[in-house]
Amino acid sequence: MAESSPLNPLEMRDAFGQTLIELGKRYPEILVIDADLNTSSKTVLFKKAFPDRFIQVGIAEQNLFGIAAGLALMGFVPFPSTFAAFTSRRALDQVAISICYPKLNVKIPGSYVGLPTSRAGASHNCIEDLAIMRALPSMRVADPGDNADLRAIMETAMETDGPVYFRVTRLTLDDIFPAGHRFEWGKGVIVRPGQDVSLFGTGMMTSLCLRAADLLAGEGIQAEVIHMASIKPIDRDLIVDSISRTGCGVAAENATILGGFGSAVAEVLAETVPAPLQRIGVRDQWVDSGGIDELFTLHCMQPENIADAARAVIKTKRAFTIAT
């Protein structure tokens, strides 16, 4: 299959399937386990390349994660794959106690995350996975910003002992990072420097933050855009450093604002350099069926909404500065 290029863009799930094959060649201990969704998640690519290392468990997600635990205990590195909604809701107990509690070496891709998941509706549009996975002790959580980032996260996940949850967006994203990009746990990246406001993005929202920064630049506002694929652990130092320079921030995630990435940024700020922060994400609502663009508009997660939030926090910052 072709690499992503401007003429032939690759959905992130295809990049995921390809990367699984690349890693599969290097790591014979990788097994992929599927619960009847391999053509949606694109683990089908691994299945074709390594049929003997692909295990089908049928529509049984609790069994999926239990079997993954058993295989990890036998020295394999399983990738149990299903939709994020079923990982974080249906099989949470198995993920928590069979995998995370004994710190087993299981790498969990969450497919169909946030708003862009076709038109399946609230049952499949998973917005709570970041909050739930972040709450599990010993789990690491990452949401990639583009295909190069996804590859880098998967590479690093293989070099990391212990459970990892990472998201795979069902969308073709803008390329942010060059080929050969490296990912480190607990490290964010400044993808656009600025001094007026910090825009913290995770996953696909970093692209939208960059577009918001373009809008703001037209008004003379220089926004700093920081990509934080590593949600747990989070880069506290970079958050503090950026906010110390800009004095205010916006945190954007393709998920509920309750308990996930924006909450993580807010926690860091509250404990270090309190500053005005607005969060972009789903505001305590179910995400119904609809077009992707419609849903981003309905949930106020478009670049314009991020720019609005940036203007609002800048105002709050000024009011606060004058008051003190």
Partner: protein, 305 residues
């Protein structure tokens, strides 16, 4: 290997079962927490598995050819811990650290702390899936000898996850997997038949594609013979379910089939009586609670109880 125990083997295993029961009660009384009923019902099963059937090397707990045992009913941990200590994975003295902060024996199983444990558990219904994963892993590693044993409670098979696992084990033809159901007829708040019936139990497992064996789970020679069959006679492309008919709280009359002793720690005087009764029942030298002179552990928080 002989399917029938010698008289010496039988006596040896009886003593181990008695010690497992006795030490379980010592631990539960000393820590003032734990599950007597479900520990006592599997004492003979633990004794025969750990001292007769399983191929293990306590000096090399991670020996890669070993048989593995997963305690899905992880609240029965005292009986398992007692078996592991008696088998030499750690000292009998360490059993008294059960449920102590910083100890090696959690209330529910934590494989990261306890030598000899193969998995972590607590929430019911999850262990058989992990066992299926291990049995598949043994296949992939082309190890035809090692077996995976999974001990399930009868109440816990009300969990849907058990049947997902059962379906998959038959689909994968895992004849290296043995599920042992500790059918003690009693749950936390009443009898299985009253709360949520599970019969016809043998037919359920058989209809899921398992080879089913039934045994009196307190009859040591019968248990040994059934486990022998599960290893040598029965495996032909099907996973094996052993329905072990047991008595919850077996060994102490007041606890037998009595759900009130599902989770309940006796005070030292009651434990002492129970242990003396147990010694008579199992024809052992008179023996009471070993730490009866020590103060009873009490929860203190903000000075209260």
């Amino acid at each position: 290997m002989n399917p029938h125990l010698t008289l010496e083997e039988h006596e040896f295993l009886e003593e181990k079962a008695y010690e497992i029961r006795r030490l379980s009660l010592e631990m539960i009384c000393y820590s003032q927490w734990g599950h007597i009923g479900g520990s006592f019902s599997m004492a003979e099963l633990m004794a025969v598995l750990y001292f007769h059937e399983m191929r293990i090397e306590p000096n090399n707990p991670r020996w890669d050819k070993r048989d593995r045992l997963i305690l899905s009913k992880a609240h029965g941990s005292p009986a398992l811990y007692a078996a592991l200590a008696l088998r030499g994975y750690f000292s009998v003295e360490q059993l008294y650290s059960y449920c102590e902060l910083g100890g090696i024996l959690e209330g529910h199983t934590d494989m990261k702390r306890t030598p000899g444990l193969e998995s972590s558990g607590g929430p019911l219904g999850m262990g058989l899936s992990v066992a299926v994963g291990m049995a598949v892993g043994l296949r992939l590693k082309e190890d035809p000898r090692a077996r995976v044993y999974c001990i399930l409670g009868d109440g816990e098979i009300q969990e849907g996850n058990v049947w997902e696992a059962a379906m998959s084990a038959a689909h994968y033809k895992l004849d290296n997997l043995v599920a042992v159901i500790d059918y003690n007829k009693t749950m936390a708040k009443g009898l299985v038949t009253d709360l949520m019936g599970i019969e016809p139990l043998a037919a359920k497992w058989a209809s899921f594609g398992w080879e089913v064996l039934e045994v009196d789970g307190h009859d040591i020679p019968a248990v040994a013979h059934t486990l022998y069959q599960a290893r040598w006679v029965k495996p032909h492309g099907q996973p094996i379910a052993i329905i072990a008919h047991t008595v919850k709280g077996k060994g102490v009359e007041m606890a037998e089939f009595n759900y009130k002793w599902h989770t309940h720690a006796p005070d030292p005087q009651t434990a002492d009586q129970m242990l003396r009764e147990m010694a008579i029942t199992y024809r052992r030298p008179e023996q009471g609670y070993s730490r009866i002179d020590e103060p009873v552990k009490k929860e203190t928080f903000y000075g209260g109880e």
